[in-house]
Symmetry: C2
Amino acid sequence: MSAKDKFHEVVKTALIKDNWLITHDPYPLQAGTFDLSIDLGAEKIIAAEREGLQIAVEIKSFMSPSNISSFYGALGQFIAYRRALKVQDSKRILYLAVSTDIYERFFITSFIQELVTENNVLLLIYNIDNEVIQKWLPLMNTDNI
Amino acid sequence: MSAKDKFHEVVKTALIKDNWLITHDPYPLQAGTFDLSIDLGAEKIIAAEREGLQIAVEIKSFMSPSNISSFYGALGQFIAYRRALKVQDSKRILYLAVSTDIYERFFITSFIQELVTENNVLLLIYNIDNEVIQKWLPLMNTDNI
């Protein structure tokens, strides 16, 4: 299993443990003439549901030697997917899933924090070792769903 | 010379032919702890000046098999560079340089047009064969500079 596939499976397991139902893997996303879900270079997204709340999750492994370059791709993909979702499935909320390791080493730097805030990127932070969701940012009050 | 370097040189030549003075190649761009100009994965940016107007140009070759993945990276990089410029050199205007070929085959599709507009991406479209600037989008009235 590639590292990319491993992260994908970990996020899926973490969502299931958190009582989410995986509804699509991969989630089929169209935008005009583009079939975003079969794109070669990008990472696949999964869709999940919990008591009426629907989410799509972009999973980024940050396996390339440059975290900032991986981030450029993740940010651009997030913005494009969010726009496509707005047309296709407007109630579904998009999250970017990153591991605690990458979050603590990279996402907490002020420049990345500013970009995340400015572009309204929602984060799902997961623990690879325990295969659990560590945090939703901004906080998701899952007790009320 | 790699394809990436070739595009870089073509854009530089096209700017010079259009009476721009190349002031930095690559342009040194810092953002907090990140030195964006020496990043491994990203393409280098150049800076130019013409009668008081200062620009920075991100040159994207779109050489990967997936145009949409290249676009994700270009869009994320553009947004990050624009933010870094705002702090370091707030009068400098950032452009994304793409060839006429990529522009006509890819950028004119409605989905990409929407993303370009929504994210205020400024485009410099250049002709590879003639090594000239074809168009600035939105139009730049260079006669008035």
